[in-house]
Symmetry: C2
């Protein structure tokens, strides 16, 4: 029998979260950035290697340099995007222009040490914790991953660190709601394809 | 000037979380599992592709089959582990035996569709949200990733889906505390190596 599931504070945070691509110019308290970093660095990681390095950008000249490099990469990416992705991006108004890289009061640029054990899973768990802390602060962000952008040079990052993503952080000026597949399409019991039954356990 | 950072509910949850490898036999409410799945499927994903599929295991025979396959892989892995990882595992009493795969009342086995855009980042963000929901439920888990284990056959999972991890879910019987590097070692401002300053913003 299906029972009503009561949300706690965390699920409300998760359900309320939206990706934000436009930001207001109002300032963000630096303490909020500290707490967002704290959420990230407290994440679990493979063999506790903590492969993450976070670079907080508040210097407009550095933001501009990052935006210029990212838009160079984006222009190339959009020219060669697979058809399904191109139409997905077009429907959402996603273009090679990335004004949020200058509009957001802060960028957190996240790198990881490539050779560490389970480095990619670990860095994304850390990023996920930060996404939720951004939401808890009443701020907005999205994960923006400009594959191939040469940010190591701009930020003096040693070559053994790889860019994972950029989180622009600010007060949301818009957001996009995304639908989710039903639980019954994604969760199964004991075998793939056998629907998960909510409610009382065995 | 350094200011005191006040934790909110999410940071308390993140700081309180520990990886759990031993579980009590007491039952877990199925509603808790539903909420954990809900936290996972509400995660953001690349181009909203939602590459995740969750298989909830409560059948002891299926758990046993999973454990047998994982321990087969583990025995091989431990024989060939790099020296630094081998000593890290030994110090923590991590052996090829994985009793938690049968002791935990539930396993959630998580697969992802390999060919989707940003599939690996997306699945780990989903897993991270689930880790926190497990904590919110007062339960324990860890991410257990038996690389190379042939679980698709045991669980009838189509070949285009790849195992990401197994989350054993139950009431903690022990946990391991891990230290974290200081914030000053992992967070910088505007350039790699320039320490992040907490406190009042510009």
């Amino acid at each position: 029998m299906k029972q009503k599931v009561t949300d706690g504070a965390l699920l409300r945070l998760i359900r309320g979260r939206r990706s934000v691509r436009r930001f207001k110019s109002e300032p963000v308290p630096r303490e909020a950035i500290t707490r967002i970093l704290e959420a990230g660095r407290r994440a679990p990681s493979g063999a506790n290697r903590q492969p993450w390095r976070y670079i907080v950008i508040d210097d407009p000249a550095v933001k501009q340099a990052i935006r210029t490099e990212c838009e160079r990469i984006e222009a190339r990416f959009h020219r060669h995007a697979p058809a399904d992705l191109a139409s997905w991006m077009k429907a959402r108004g996603i273009t090679p222009q990335k004004p949020f890289l200058e509009e957001a009061p802060y960028l957190i640029v996240i790198f990881y040490k490539m050779r560490e054990l389970y480095a990619v899973p670990s860095i994304w768990v850390s990023i996920a914790f930060m996404l939720l802390q951004v939401e808890e602060e009443g701020l907005g962000t999205l994960t923006y991953t400009p594959t191939g952008a040469r940010l190591n040079a701009i930020l003096s990052v040693p070559a053994q660190f790889q860019l994972a993503t950029i989180l622009p952080i600010g007060t949301p000026a818009d957001h996009q709601r995304q639908n989710r597949r039903a639980l019954s399409e994604t969760a199964f019991t004991n075998q793939f394809g056998r629907p998960f039954e909510e409610g009382s356990g065995p």
